[in-house]
């Protein structure tokens, strides 16, 4: 560990700001994710070459199509939005020492609840399977309805994650098990509600009735010059950036974040410091679930404008990968989500325009990136030959 702190020794100890120190720390944090991505691309390239395509052309296609203006970039940002939220969700829980596998269930319940509020309070009459029209409770204007729907997404996600948090704090039930189970329950409940109560009679697709137009949030193209409004990237992307900033402030600049991080770093020391560890577990899970719930805003208010069953492209699980690659830091999560979104966007083009390679290549690349990041300790060990010594005190 000593060479890592070489930077610190060069610092002038009493200066309140040390650029050199910060840069070295940044490089240290960046090193591994970057190495992992480069490695993944090399291995992926070999695979492409083995199946008989030109790796350079495929990569050109993959990245080039994701970075074209405006379509490539627009779609990349759209794909990035949900996994920024789930990445943040996993990161917050992880900072408290918890592995939230349940972002998937949290975002499903939150998305459904958002749609429900936007129907029930948005003046939408639903004629479900029974054929009897169900009247809404109110018809609120957008300025009230949209914030209410967003709040619903956050609160329902938080509640759905809070249950496993509480089970862990109260009974010691392991959050990995309980969040997975909560995923099954979530999918079951929302599918049932969609199928039997909120699907328009005669609609062959498993989706709810459309939400009130007053609950729609704007596409970025509707106010950013040069960006066509047909691209689905919407205000939720801006909310995702805001969420990154808020999560940073929350974790590192507030006493609440301090308590969550302390609990994650060493629960016994946190307890010694007068921190109620059980409360932190519930709080961290709730914040995590609230962030996952924000996916519903992008999906329901910003894109489909209804609850669309099984809409999630494994966003909850992609969030784990994004958090891992982003080192559980909001800035890292943001860029990791962008990378994964680029791969997703580019994959479609690779599928269409390359001869032998399908878009499965993207999943191979993502898988390899995660494999490398996850075995970081192993690589640090074998590259640095410090594997064992690093942990022993001299």
């Amino acid at each position: 560990m000593n060479d890592e702190y070489k930077a610190d020794k060069l610092c002038i100890h009493h200066s309140s700001f040390c650029i050199h120190h910060l840069i070295m720390r940044l490089l240290r944090e960046l090193l591994f994710p970057v190495v992992a991505v480069v490695f993944a691309f090399i291995v992926g390239g070999i695979i492409v070459w083995l199946v008989g395509d030109n790796p350079i052309q495929v990569y050109k296609l993959l990245l080039g199509s994701a970075l074209t203006w405006p379509d490539g970039i627009g779609y990349t940002l759209f794909y990035a939005t949900p996994i920024i939220f789930t990445g943040l969700a996993v990161a917050v829980a992880f900072r408290c020492g918890l592995l939230n596998i349940g972002a998937e269930g949290q975002l499903y319940t939150a998305a459904f609840a958002t749609a429900w509020v936007s129907i029930k309070l948005g003046g939408v009459v639903v004629t479900g399977m029974s054929g009897v029209p169900v009247q809404p409770w109110a018809n609120l204007p957008g300025v009230v309805l949209v914030p209410l729907a967003v709040l619903t997404a956050i609160l329902v996600g938080a509640a759905w994650a809070g249950v496993p948090g509480w089970l862990k704090a109260r009974f010691g039930a392991h959050e990995v098990i309980t969040t997975i189970m909560m995923n099954f329950i979530a999918v079951g409940i929302v599918s049932y509600l969609t199928q039997y109560h909120y699907r328009t009679q005669g609609d062959p697709i498993m989706e709810s009735a459309p939400i009130s137009e007053s609950a729609h949030i704007a596409r970025l193209g509707s106010f950013i010059p040069g960006l066509p409004a047909r691209l689905p990237v919407n205000v939720a992307f801006i909310l995702a950036i805001v969420a990154c900033a808020l999560v940073y402030v929350f974790l590192w600049r507030t006493k609440w974040g301090y308590e969550i991080r302390a609990t994650g770093a060493n629960p016994q020391a946190a307890e010694y410091g007068g921190i109620n560890v059980r409360r932190q577990i519930v709080l961290a899970m709730a914040v995590s679930g609230g962030l996952a719930g924000m996916v519903g805003v992008n999906e329901v208010l910003g894109y489909h404008h209804r609850y669309y069953d099984s809409f999630s492209d494994n966003y909850g699980f992609a969030g784990i990968a994004v958090a891992l690659l982003g080192r559980n830091h909001p800035v890292g999560v943001f860029f990791a989500a962008l990378l994964f979104a680029m791969l997703q966007r580019g994959g479609i083009h690779v599928d269409a325009f390359s001869e032998h390679v399908s878009k499965d290549l993207v999943q191979v690349l993502q898988g390899i990136v995660i494999l490398f990041v996850a075995s970081e300790a192993f690589f640090r060990g074998s590259f640095g030959r410090f594997g064992l010594l690093r942990r022993s005190k001299v």
Binding site: D8, C11, Y258, N266, E271, Y272, I275
Partner: protein, 505 residues
């Protein structure tokens, strides 16, 4: 017997061993002393094959040898007993000893034969260890002898002992030294790593002193004294005794009335009553694991009330059910016994560590829930300055500091609270002599400012020299209160093992 020649070992950019030379004569007891981080353990781990030296030679019985694994060392007749025992609790002594060197064929272990051999060895060195006893039923002292047997069973001619007396009572230390002397008589060679100078003088024939990864001297024990060794270890004159004026105690700050703690199970606290007054240090002496941990944790609010009985009062106010944070607010500070487990967030920087416990209020918090980073940094710098924490960089993670500096940071953090009552446990464990002196002076000064201090330490010398009154704890009960100035260590040691009752009961 064993010689390390020009051994150099580097970890990252720390030189743990810098061209060291250690020569151990056969049939002698050789002490290696030095502060924490001086490189003693590293050197011995190289000799035992745990680490490989970057350069230099190991010479065994006059011939250069390659020792790359402990197996190589064992084959050459070198055995090592670690500070932390490596025994399987649920197995018998014989099973533990043969582990890794099982006699008999591959499929069946001939335990009976092993037990016979072990009994013979035990008798030869008068270790009185029963090969058929379960390790979990043995005392710490007996477990240590099992570790010795493990090495002897593998035909070790040279035994390396890493801080062997840390876990023993004074009586057990005497017995242990007698065993070492018998081993020397039987022609064994012993290397003992320690930082306790009295033990060096009591047991060794030769002593090698290390400082900062270098050997700074090799002496005949008979020709040196504690002051000279301490000076060589630290590099300057060191005050070995705590100098303190008599305490002038005020009223009772802490009153413990019939406190019982069931949290530690067997090792809990049973019906304990005592007072700690303002301006005095009350010491708790006892062999580790006799309820000290549970006592301090209960007083610090770290034990759930359902696992406690009796009452605790602070300045006349009942705090039996108060949480850890409420106790902080009432003026109780706590230096925990295990700084890595309780006291620090090792991956957090020093600034963040300096507010643990007070992170929710001024000066850590400025506006609403927002942390005042500049204020936190200033506070950290103040602690770093007042308590001489090195390196003086609040941005370093706590992990990067040596044990002594970590301890100074914790002590600084707790002292800065200006507590009415300080609970302090093992304040100098794993801390080097220079820092020990510093911490002791700070404790006495805090006492003289009127703080009530409850001190628990496994170092008998430390409690007897710091405490104004001394409680002896045994099996969770206070078995006596003594005046540390008028009671010999032997007497206290006897009480610590339940041998004699003090004048309090």
């Amino acid at each position: 017997m064993l010689e390390l020649r020009e051994i150099t070992k580097r970890f990252g950019d720390v030189l743990a061993n810098d061209h060291i030379n250690i020569r151990v004569e056969p049939g002698t007891i050789h002490a290696i002393v030095g502060e924490n981080g001086a490189g003693k353990s590293t050197a011995m781990r190289i000799a035992y094959g745990f680490y490989t030296a970057d350069s230099g030679e190991i010479i065994v019985d006059g011939e250069p040898r390659r020792i790359e694994t402990p197996h190589d060392a064992i084959a050459l007749g070198i055995g090592m007993v670690h500070q932390h025992f490596m025994l399987v609790d649920t197995m018998s002594v014989a099973e533990n000893i043969v582990l890794g060197a099982e006699p008999g064929s591959a499929a069946s272990i001939d335990l009976r034969k092993a037990a016979q051999e072990i009994r013979a060895l035990s008798d030869e060195f008068r270790l009185s260890v029963d090969p058929n006893a379960l390790v979990q039923d043995l005392s710490v002292g007996q477990q240590q002898r099992v570790e010795l047997l493990k090495a002897l069973y593998r035909h070790a001619r040279l035994l390396i002992l890493d801080e062997p007396t840390a876990v023993l009572t004074p009586q057990e230390v005497e017995e242990f030294f007698a065993i070492l002397r018998r081993m020397r008589e039987q022609g064994k060679t012993v290397i003992i790593i320690t930082h306790k100078l009295s033990e060096v003088l009591a047991i060794s024939d030769d002593v090698t002193v290390m400082r900062d990864g270098r050997v700074v001297g090799r002496l005949k024990t008979a020709e040196t004294d504690a002051a000279e060794l301490a000076r060589m270890m630290v590099g300057r004159d060191v005050l070995l005794r705590v100098e303190k004026p008599d305490a002038r105690p005020g009223g009772a700050v802490l009153s413990v009335k019939g406190l019982s703690v069931t949290a530690g199970g067997e090792r809990g606290v049973r019906d304990v009553s005592f007072d700690v007054r303002a301006g005095e240090i009350v010491g708790v002496a006892g062999v580790e694991g006799n309820g000290q941990t549970e006592l301090i944790e209960a007083l610090a609010g770290l034990v759930t009330p359902s696992q406690m009985g009796g009452a605790v009062e602070l300045g006349g106010r009942d705090i039996t059910r108060a949480s850890a944070r409420e106790r902080y607010e009432l003026g109780i500070a706590h230096v925990p016994e295990d700084r890595h487990r309780r006291g620090l967030l090792l991956d957090f920087d020093l600034a963040e560590n300096s507010i643990l416990g007070v992170h929710y209020r001024k000066p850590a918090v400025s506006f609403g829930p927002l942390l005042d980073l500049a204020g936190i940094r200033d506070r950290a710098l103040e602690i770093i300055r007042d308590f001489d924490v090195r390196p003086a960089n609040p941005d370093l993670p706590a992990r990067a500091l040596s044990g002594g500096n970590q301890q100074k940071l914790i002590i600084g953090r707790e002292f800065e609270l200006r507590p009415k009552l300080l609970l302090v446990s093992q304040p100098t464990r794993g801390v080097d002599i220079g820092a020990i002196e510093f911490i002791h002076r700070k404790l006495v000064r805090l006492r003289d400012e009127g703080c009530a201090i409850l001190l628990v330490s496994a170092e008998l010398e430390e409690v007897t020299s710091l405490a104004d009154r001394l409680l002896v704890i045994y099996h969770g009960r206070i078995v006596g209160e003594v005046d540390p100035k008028r009671t010999s260590q032997e007497e206290i040691g006897l009480m610590m093992t339940g041998g004699r009752k003090g004048n309090a009961e």
